[in-house]
Each structure stands twice: as C-alpha cells, then as structure tokens.
C-alpha cells in the first residue's frame, strides 16, 4: 500500500518536538529605538518617507491608543506585555530598493528557501506539471518590511496593483486615503489602534473593475529580530466585478520570550467582486514548557460593500502561543456572501481564541461558517463567533458548524457563539459538537498497521477535510503536513 508507506515516511521524516521554521537569519537590520512614544511613530513615518497626512493619521491613532486598555474578554491568559520594551520597527538593512531578486541579500533568499517559499518562478512551479502551471505572485515581509514582490510586470499588464503598503501610500494615495481604516476603524480595538499608529509595512492589493487577477497573490510574513513586534497592515480592494485569491503565510524563529504580532487586514469588495483570503499561520508556538512563542493578536475584517459581492476567509491556525483572531465579514451589499472556514489546532501550552463575525446588513445576504478546533496537550481552544441579522436584513441566511476534537484529558475545547436575529425572515442554523477521536476509528487504523500517531493524523485530516477543500492546492498540501507536525507528541 503505497499510500500508507507515504504516510509512514512522512511521519518518520518529522523530528518530534521540532519547529522546523525555528531558525534565525543573521542579517544586519535597522531598528527604531526601543519603546513607544510619539517620536517612535514619527520615526517610522519618516523612515517610510510618508506624506504628512499619513503621519497625522498615525499620530491620531497613537493618541487614541494611549487612552485604551487591553481587551480581557477572551479565554486566554496573557502575560502582561510591556509595550515600552519592544522594538516597533526593524528592517533588514539590505532593503534599500532592490530592483530585482539579484539585489536582495542572499541570506534573505536562503531564509525563504528554508521556509519553502520560492520567490523564483521556476521554484514555485517545481513539481507542477508545466502545462497546468499555476503562478503565484509573492510579496515577502521580513520583520516589518516588505522585501520583494515578484511578478510585478505581469500584474501591471492586468492593471493589478500588488506591492507593499508603503509604496501604495506614495504611489496611490487616493486609494489608500479612501479605503485605509474604512473597514477596521482606527479606534476599533486596542490592538488595531496600536497597529494603526505603528504599522511598518504590509501588502496592498487593488484589482481594477472587471479584472480577474491572473494569478494567486501571496504574502509571507517572517518575524526575525529579537524583541520586535510585528505590525503589518494589509489592504485589499476588489473593484466592481473583480476577483482575487490571496494567500498569507507566517513563521518566526524560536525564542524564549514572547513576541507580539498585531496585524490588521482590511478587505473591501465592491459590487460583484469576490475576495478569497487564505491563511496558514504557523508562528512559533513556544516550547514544550510553554515558554516563548508569538502572541498573535490580529484584527481581520472584510466589507462586502457592493451588491452581489463575496468574501471568503480560510484559515489554518497551528502556530502562536496565543491566538486572538476573528476574521469577519460585514455583509452590507444586497445578496452578498460571507464564508469562514477554519482549522485551529492547539497543542502543548497553546491558547487559541478564534472565530468569526458575520454581520448581515443587506437583503438576501448569506453566510457560512465551518470551524474545526482540535485541542491536544494542555492547550485551550475556543471558538467564539457572532452571527447577527439587522432589522432590515431580510432573508438573511446563515449556517454554522463548529466541531471540536479533544486529544488527551488535559486540554480544553470551548464554543461560545452569539446568534442574534433581529428579523423574522432570517434563517440561522448553528450546530456544534465536541468529542474525542473515537477509539473504534483508532483501533481500525492501528489494526491495519498504522502507529498511534499516524492514526491520529489520519483521523484528524479526515475531521478537517471540509475546510482543507477550500484552501488553494499549494496551501492544502502544506496545511496537511502542518497538522501532522502540530499534533506530534499528542498521543502517548
């Protein structure tokens, strides 16, 4: 049975308790002084050569942030974060305007090679049948700065703007001014406001009217420097009738202190537009004793602003010591659709509090939520979601399914959905289950020669299949491997 052999080999190839992305790249970097005050915000803005209005925008956010306190309603225990003991800006020194990949620090390229992210076309296509090539344009963000964006020419031909947000602020201020902060307001929440003040880079995508983006767009985020917070900002705008599929991947080196990652992602879908946003989040989760790891406090929100628009979130969350993340959809346009597919795996001492919000405002809007949570070790895994239909949102429709799987008797899996129907024509269905992997299934697999761990990986992959289906192919393969790695050591 070759399939079984493949599974056995794969599991063998994985070293137990090893986070394979846990290396550090030694390259010189340019950092802002430690701590946060107005001068840090000015420093970042000056470094990016931003116009005056952008600086004002940041300063306003910073002033607001000073009056706010951290949210404490999530089911996570966070060690106090000293916001003055962080570097808010760190950029690889070699980034002074690389014109092509050849000018990029080879160390950096090696990093990406190690990550399995190929910036070169041929590498991306490696192993893929040349006839059926899929192209992926990559924007790589290293620490806080966008390093390189591939396929610029081809995208330009289609009229697609894809690049770092700092470039967009310089080159397309009218778009940035119009849309930045329009989905996640500056004052939205503690971490989003902090991000608004100090965000250093991120990706910007604009798909013009009626354009179907010719390839998948991808961003890789990497935290490298010690003691840095990473605050990236992503803004994606799909104009009328446009379509884009966007992938996001994240990794970080192993460190024994906690590092803060507070990103903001804003999606705007105008009439008839569709945005598909996929994430494989694999930040360093901390060691077996729960030391270190990334605090992943992210605000992601999509606005189906036009009629007949659609936003779909797919996420595979396996990393981070603490995840606090609720990718949401505001279904403003009539007939708009929102989707959320999520796999959240927690092992060791990880804590996950994640879910989504579907806010139905327009008529005939529909949404679907499929969430699969898997808790192992001594981790806590919470689904927290909101589905609401406004008074005028006639014929709003939602289906929610959130299942949790428990592996081991020391972990916890929790479900906290809020379902608010303010309209009689709204039809909402919600179901949630929690159970452990059935002994029968494990016995069945093991009696056919699979080890305990392989059997668990197999069952879990079956459990999350509904979500994996919605990932782009390249990601789906990576996600499956990640699931196997994340669950290592979970079976005795």
């Amino acid at each position: 049975m070759p399939a079984v052999q493949e599974t056995v080999d794969r599991v063998k190839s994985i070293d137990v308790d090893q986070y394979k992305y846990g290396f550090e790249t030694k390259i010189e970097s340019d950092r802002a002084p430690k701590g946060l005050d107005e001068s840090t915000v000015r420093f970042i803005s000056a470094k990016k050569g931003e116009p005056e209005w952008m600086l004002e925008w940041r300063l306003e956010a910073f002033r607001r942030w000073k009056t706010m306190s951290e949210p404490n309603w999530a089911r996570v225990k966070v060690n106090p974060i000293d916001y003055q003991d962080l570097y808010y800006y760190s950029a690889p020194k070699t980034t002074a305007g690389p014109k092509s990949l050849a000018e990029v620090d080879p160390e950096l390229l090696k990093t990406y090679a190690k990550l399995g992210i190929s910036l070169h076309e041929q590498e991306i296509l490696a192993g893929v049948d040349p006839a059926g090539r899929t192209k992926v344009a990559v924007d790589a963000v290293f620490d806080s700065v966008s390093v390189v964006t591939t396929f610029q020419e081809e995208l330009k031909k289609a009229g697609v703007i894809f690049g770092s947000i700092s470039e967009a602020i310089k080159n397309h201020p009218e778009l940035v001014k119009k849309y930045l902060g329009s989905v996640v307001p500056v004052t939205d929440n503690f971490f989003a406001t902090l991000n608004s003040a100090v965000f250093s880079d991120g990706s910007f995508v604009y798909i013009p009217k009626g354009v179907r983006c010719p390839m998948e767009l991808s961003t890789y985020f990497r935290i490298n420097e010690r003691n840095t917070g990473q605050f990236e900002r992503t803004l994606i705008i799909a104009d009328e009738g446009a379509y884009v599929s966007y992938l996001e991947g994240c990794t970080a080196p192993m460190r024994d202190e906690n590092q803060l990652h507070a990103a903001v992602v804003e999606l705007v879908a105008l009439e008839g537009a569709e945005i598909k946003y996929s994430t494989v989040q694999n930040w360093y989760p901390g060691d077996a004793q729960g030391k270190g790891g990334i605090y992943n406090f992210v605000t992601k929100r999509g606005d189906c602003r036009g009629n007949n628009s659609k936003i779909s979130w797919t996420q595979v969350e396996t990393g981070s010591a603490i995840t606090w993340k609720y990718p949401s959809c505001i279904l403003r346009g009539d007939n708009s659709q929102g989707e959320f597919y999520s796999i959240a795996i927690s092992n060791g001492h990880q804590q996950v509090d994640s879910g989504t919000k579907m806010i139905h405002l327009g008529k005939n809007t529909s949404s679907r939520i499929i969430s699969k949570g898997i808790a192992a070790g001594v981790s806590q895994n919470t689904y927290r979601g909101l589905v609401s239909a406004h008074r005028k949102a006639t014929n709003a429709r939602n289906f929610t399914n959130c299942d949790s799987l428990l592996i081991g008797d020391k972990c916890g899996a929790h479900t906290t959905p809020y379902i608010e129907a303010k309209n009689s024509s709204a039809v909402f269905e919600h179901e949630a289950t929690t159970s452990k992997i059935s002994e029968d299934m494990l016995f069945y697999c093991r009696s056919r020669g699979l080890s305990g761990e392989e059997a668990v990986a197999l069952v879990v992959n079956g459990f999350v299949k509904d979500v994996l289906q919605h990932l782009p192919m390249e990601f789906a393969v990576e996600a499956q491997k990640l699931i196997a790695i994340s669950l290592e050591g979970s079976v005795g």
Binding site: L406, I419, E420, A421, S424, A426, A432, K436
Partner: protein, 438 residues
Amino acid sequence: MNAEVKMMRTAAEAAYADALTALPAPEAIRSLREKALRLFAEKGLPHRRVEEWKYTDLRALIREMPPLAKGADGAAIAEAKKNSVLTNIGAREITFVNGAFVAELSNLKGLEKGLSITTLADALAKDASLVTLLAKINPNKYDAVFALNTAALNEGILIEVAPGAQITQPIHVRHIVTGTSPVSVFGRAVVKVGAKAQATLVQSHVGPDTVAYQTNTVLQLSVADDAELDVVRVQAEGDKAIHLSMMIGAIGNESRFRSFALTTGGAASRHTVPFAYAGRNARATIAGATLLRGKQHADTTLEIDHAMPGGESRELYKTVLDDEANGVFQGLIIVRPDAQKTDGRMMSAALLLGDNAEMDNKPELEIFADDVQCAHGATTGALDDDLLFYLRARGIPKKEAESLLIQSFFGEAVETIENAKIRDAVMNLAGGWLAARS
C-alpha cells in the same frame, strides 16, 4: 470601547438597599441577609457589559423599586381565589399571595408519609443548619437576583421528601400577586428529595396586568442518590411585571431530574438555572417553551455544570416570538476534568412570527475532559411557507394553519412533561396564548 466605566449607583439600587435594610430580620438569618445586602451594595445590578447579562440589562430595565409588598389582606386573598392557573391538575396547593404564605389557600393536611412541608420561618426555628443551604449558590459567584433574594429573605417554603418516599400527588406552589399598585415581591422555596424518593413539583407565577410590579423568586433543589424529581414551572405574570427567578439545582448519583418551564408573562423576565451534577451517572432534562408577544422580553440562562462522570443532560428550549418580542437563550454546558463520559445535548430553536421580533442565542460549551459527547444546536427562522401552503391547500384557514404549526413547534418541549394531567394543563395554557394571537 475598552475604557473602564465606573458605574454610578442607580436610584433603584439605592431604593433596594434602603428598603431591605429597614426590613426586620429574624435572628437566624440576620447575618446572612446583611452579607447579601453588602454584596449587592458593592456590585449592584448587572448591565449589558456583564457578560451573563449582555442581552438583559437589569440596570436599564429596573429604573425604580416599587415598595415591598405588605402581605395578603382579605381583599388580596379574595382576588387570589379567582386565579385558576393550573388548579385542575389534582395537586396539593401551597399559596403565597404578595409574597406571604396564606394558610387558607394552602393544603397542609393529610401529608403523605415521608412528605414534610413547612414555612421557612418555622423550619429555621427548628433547624439552624438550613441557613447554610439558603446561602448557597451554585456556582459560587455573584448574582444580583440571588443577592437581592437573600437580602430580602423572609417568607418561603421548605418541602422535604424522606428517603424512599414516593409522593404521587404533585405539589403546586402558587405565587400570586394582587392589587392595582406596584409592589416588590420576594419568595424562596427549598425542595429536598431524599435518596430513592420521588416527587413532582409545580410552580406557578401569576399577577395582574397593567401593574408594574416586580417579583424575585429562588427555587433551590437537591436531589439525593437514586432519587427522582419532576419540576414544572409556569410564568404567567402580568404584562407590565418584571419577573426575576432562579432554579438552583444539584443532583446526586444515579438520580433523575426533569424540568419544564412555560414562559408567557411579564414585560421582562429572566430565569437563571445554575445546575450541578453532584453525583455520578445522573440524568437531567431541562426543557422550556417561551411564548412572547408585544414588546415582551424573556431571558433563559442555563449553566449546566458536569462535575462528575457519566452525567447525561438534555436541554430543549422552544421560543415563539410575535410582534416585537425579544427572546434570549443562553445555555452553557461545562464539563469539568473529572466528568468523563458526559453526554450533553442542548437545543434552542426560535420561531420568529413578528417582523421585528428578535432572538438572541448564546449556546456555549466549555469542555475540559476528553471522553465526552457534547453538542448544541441553535436555530432561528420563520414559519415554513411550504408547510403553511400544504395545510391551506387542504382547506385550513391561515390562522388555524399557523396555530397548528406553532403548536407542533413548541409541543415538542411540552411533551417532556411526564405527568399527563400537568402536560395537558400546560398545553391548554399555551393553547390559550395561541388563541389570543391576533
């Protein structure tokens, strides 16, 4: 958004504190009452930023406190006599009018063997250990309704079923409010069912329409090993009333518990059920039907706490909302680390008849053990047009067809009542609600 807000003490909070401080307390419970009042003075009424009260903002609902009810005079008793809610179920009746025990309307004669029914005042005089039971809330956390109820602890009833006793006649505790001016009424009932015993308890709450009175009642239940208890509760308060209630339960090894709650009354009501599995392999069904119209608001909050292994729980709530009514269901199933082999299933379904009706569902699972089966479901929707069409195509008028569908919708929950007489009586009450539908 995240800024801390220091709340001012509201007029109602101050009025409660003053009225309850002035209320004379029997010696046995004085310190208990003082402690509860201090706690209330400190924490006050919950508002929407208190997670458990997110959908029922007591601070906003309770603007003022009507004066404490002065008990039952002749006129009140005469008025109470006219009330006929669930008087046809062949039950032993115990009646409280305006919070006061009325012997004339209560039947304490010829108690079955093993059954003891005493007023709380008498019981406290006999058994001082009762105080510790009265002080108990499960889980042990602050609840404004419980704190107020304890601070106002005065009259109530203690029902005890001796081990092994099989009490076949249902016991009906009636809470009747009378008169035309608003009052505040408090009540407490304690039910203890001994090992291997069996009993059925019915509780009804009624009062006059157009009077903005407030009621606060707490029912404390303990079901010992191998025992069985059925509870049916009908809340049919007047249309301007505010009704706050709790059912605090703990059940023992191999015990069986069933409860059903019909909620049709009150301008605003909240029923909280902190329910603990204190023994192994216990089974409980907690069901309810909520039928609301106008601008009524009703909140049911369950906290099902599986602390011991092998527990089985079934929760089924049906909510029908007409006009601009607002239904709230919050249901939490907790499975603690030792509660392996727990089987929990919770379902909340809402039928929205009025265009501006609102249903807020928050079913929660909090699981710390791995060998469990837990699930919850929540649905919200309008009447199915296809089903209506089917019935109308067979010559059934629209209103009647709707009634049939609505009845079959909440009927599923009513059917969990074991006692056929009580089940029929409850179905009749619900039918009355349907008939009054315009």
